[in-house]
Symmetry: C2
DNA sequence: ACGGAATGTACGGTGTACTTGACATAGCCG
DNA sequence: CGGCTATGTCAAGTACACCGTACATTCCGT
């Protein structure tokens, strides 16, 4: 579709959740560490399924973790 | 990632929004009619960006349109 | 009975999300 | 100093989201 205008708060949320490590989040969401690194770096947006899993890991809603320009 | 356990309410919402046509939703969200058909048929889950666009078209939040087993 | 609108299927093709694996660096602790 | 943890990079491969085009079907209005 396009060049990832979607922003996320993953890195910030990781620290707010007890110094959670990238590896820990990766395992909790069932993806590799590479994927978490890429997402935090904003290299691409996650699939909807992964977005759900990440949000659930933080006990938040999708839109609390990911934001999209428009509103 | 996996075999699309994500469910959506697109078809239902289309009708609740003034008999909105698949083509109309496609144009409103910037994708083709094929994509809307595939999503309604549950053939695959949309990208996070498209999920946002669809939700916004209905003036709803992502999780009001798409659901994922887990809760 | 014909025409158009709405929905659906079936191709092949492209871009990208995600993977595995290997290696680099910085910080901390013994 | 030597080793471990956390973070990051690079590269090649797989899976699938989305595209374009073309064609079939059903329904409705005229």
């Amino acid at each position: 579709m396009s060049q990832t205008p979607i922003v996320n708060q993953i890195r910030k949320l990781r620290f707010e959740h007890g110094e959670m490590t990238q590896e820990a989040l990766a395992k909790a969401t069932g993806v590799t560490r590479q994927t978490i690194i890429a997402l935090e770096a904003g290299r691409y947006a996650p699939s909807l399924e992964l977005a759900f899993r990440i949000a659930r890991s933080f006990r938040l809603r999708v839109e609390d973790v990911f934001q999209w320009p428009d509103s």
